[in-house]
């Protein structure tokens, strides 16, 4: 049976010796051939999830399935998973060729097969001709690519990448993001990529898991997560956002900053207190009086491509605005936005309830 899911976590909890809960009842499903990203702040449990999948540690409770089989106690060397480690973990006593050939030699492949496969893997990561280099003679970016070659050469079903780009400078990093994504498409293998860089996650993934304090806060496509964050943490962590307090008056009508606005959210009890998210780039600057909100410009920062301004409305809410227009500090301006730019978040809504509500109301919206 070849079903879509390749890895499944069912109520997985992980605690270490000192009883700190590192993963708290985590459940998710990973499908074949997709690019997944685990995104979250430092210490939230990303590496721990990868280590559970790779088999270096076992869950305290719950089950891990691989290809439909429970693998809680299967040792790491018997799993069809390869890892690109956070610090690469290349063998310093072996040269580039031998590092990449390590897994194949263990499988006792024929010499000619090993040579051909290593060569192919190295050309995959643009390192042809580096076979005889020592690891100490490779740059950080090159080492990272050796680590990737060492993983893909074994043709595993899943590749785990633990912040492999964090040590690189911005330019090389962007280039490697493209290369990795491209590589994943060519190989058609499942990639599980860990990062705490939200831009990286948005740019590369089919699917993102946003994790905080050992819990998956939200999972979905980059666009879903960016446009419809489930709570304040996700909204704040993914991109810059304006989050203000408000009240849901009725379906498609919300009140904040002392005014009522039409929006596209529904399914929330009337008069329930909520939080409103509007992304800075969705705010349009207008002349005073012409927008939906009246604000005063408080500060202005030049960011290269645009100015980043903070403005304050009459209720004291701060609004972050991105603009290329020239506006001066102290000016009174108007802010305009579309109803679609308003995203309403309930307090403490579970991911299932959130998804159900989203589905129902986007359908209704599409139908009528």
């Amino acid at each position: 049976m070849e079903n879509a899911s390749i890895i499944q976590f069912v109520n997985v909890t992980k605690t270490f010796a000192d009883d700190t809960i590192v993963l708290d009842n985590v459940s998710f499903e990973i499908e074949r051939g997709k690019f997944y990203t685990l995104l979250g702040p430092s210490g939230c449990g990303k590496t721990t999830i990868l280590r559970l999948i790779a088999g270096f540690i076992e869950p305290t409770s719950g089950e891990v399935y691989f290809d439909g089989k429970k693998i809680n106690h299967l040792p790491a060397n018997k799993r069809q998973v390869n890892t690109v480690f956070q610090d690469y973990a290349l063998f310093p006593h072996l040269n580039v060729f031998e590092n990449v050939a390590f897994g194949l030699r263990i499988k006792r492949e024929k010499k000619s097969v090993i040579e051909a496969k290593v060569k192919e893997a190295l050309s995959f990561v643009n390192l042809s001709g580096y076979e005889n280099r020592e690891i100490s003679e490779m740059s950080g970016g090159q080492r990272q690519r050796v680590a990737i070659a060492r993983a893909i050469v074994n043709e595993p079903k899943v590749i785990l990448l633990d912040e492999p780009l964090s040590a690189l400078d911005l330019k090389l990093r962007t280039q490697m993001q493209y290369e990795l994504r491209e590589l994943q498409r060519r190989l058609g293998i499942t990639f599980i990529f860990v990062t705490h860089d939200q831009e990286e996650a948005l740019a590369m993934s089919d699917e993102i898991f946003v994790i905080n304090k050992g819990k998956i806060q939200q999972s979905g496509t980059p666009i879903d997560i960016y446009d419809e964050p489930i709570n304040r943490f996700v909204a704040d962590f993914i991109g810059e956002s304006n989050i203000v307090k408000g009240k849901m008056i009725e379906d498609y009508l919300v009140e904040f900053a002392g005014k009522r606005f039409t929006c596209v959210d529904g399914g929330i009890t009337p008069n329930e207190p909520v939080e409103i998210v509007i992304r800075p780039e969705d705010l349009e600057i207008t002349k005073k009086g012409a927008g939906k909100l009246e604000v005063t410009v408080h500060s202005k920062l030049f960011r290269g491509v645009h100015y980043e301004m903070t403005c304050r409305d009459v209720e004291g809410n701060d609004w972050l605005v991105h603009t290329t227009r020239k506006v001066d500090v102290g000016d009174m301006i108007g802010l305009d936005f579309e109803p679609e730019a308003i995203h309403v978040m309930r307090f403490d809504e579970s991911e299932e309830d959130f998804d159900r509500r989203m589905e129902q109301y986007t359908e209704e919206e599409a139908n009528g």
Partner: protein, 267 residues
């Protein structure tokens, strides 16, 4: 200019030390090795060294040093490995190192007591029904005591090498399908080889020239190069021959250091 002068000034004690305690004695030994028993200049000692008596002596000396090093290594490596896995590893290491601070002769005398005809070892053999037997003055007891004495010196460098091994390398080997044994033979051992080499050097070389133990524990049944030198200087008064053996011992040491020399890779 001033700086250079100062730096040279710092070097003075070191240089004096080296000249007085290293270079001068070696030159002296070299000089004596060319004197025969009557104090005349000759090559007779060197001729004698290449006779079967001395070649056999050298060979047996090597054999015992080899045995001692090998057994020390076989005991020390797993011990060091287990030590790195314990919770208070540095405390345990200290406990293993402490006996090496005790004077060698004291330890030798302690073993005379233990291995003696009415010693603890024989009592134990009696107790388990094997019966007492001659332990002292055998090559077994010699090797046993020598291993006991050298083990801390073998454990220390291996422990350091294992301790500084990046643990994710072991995860990486597992991840690539390596079993425990393959991980050991292909990753852990090669990466701690420098520690093993250092350990072998600091055991093998002194083991070649052990001399007190050969008398106290082995009852002169084992004669090492060290014993031969001692005997020539103190008993036969043939300083020339003693020096000649010393010259060869020094040459052998350099050769061993050369052969087990470090490669840069993976340090």
């Amino acid at each position: 200019m001033d700086n250079k002068f100062l730096r040279n000034l710092y070097m003075v004690p070191y240089a004096v030390w080296i000249i007085v305690f290293v270079i001068a004695p070696i030159l002296l030994v070299l000089y004596y090795s060319f004197l025969d028993i009557h104090g005349n200049f000759s090559l007779v000692n060197y001729e004698r060294f290449f006779t079967s008596v001395y070649l056999k002596l050298t060979l047996s000396s090597f054999w015992y040093a080899f045995l001692i090093t090998l057994i020390s290594l076989l005991v020390a490596y797993p011990t060091a490995y287990l030590l790195t896995k314990t919770k208070h590893k540095h405390l345990w290491l200290l406990l293993i190192i402490v006996p090496s601070w005790i004077n060698l002769l004291l330890k030798a005398y302690a073993f005379i007591g233990i291995f003696g005809a009415y010693g603890a070892a024989n009592n134990f053999l009696e107790f388990i029904g094997i019966g007492s037997r001659q332990l002292l003055f055998t090559d077994f007891s010699f090797v046993f005591v020598a291993v006991y004495i050298f083990i801390p010196f073998m454990i220390l460098p291996i422990f350091n090498a294992l301790n500084s091994l990046n643990p994710t390398l072991i995860d990486a080997a597992n991840d690539l399908g390596a079993s425990r044994w393959t991980t050991f033979s292909k990753v852990i051992f090669p990466l701690t080889l420098n520690g093993v080499k250092t350990g072998c050097q600091v055991v093998f070389i002194p083991a070649l020239s052990l001399f007190m133990l050969t008398r106290l524990i082995a009852g002169n049944r084992v004669i090492t190069l060290g014993t031969a030198i001692e005997q020539h200087f103190l008993v036969t008064q043939d300083w020339g021959m003693g020096s000649t053996i010393a010259v060869f011992l020094i040459l052998i040491m350099f050769l061993i250091i050369r052969l087990t020399g470090f490669r840069k890779r993976g340090a």
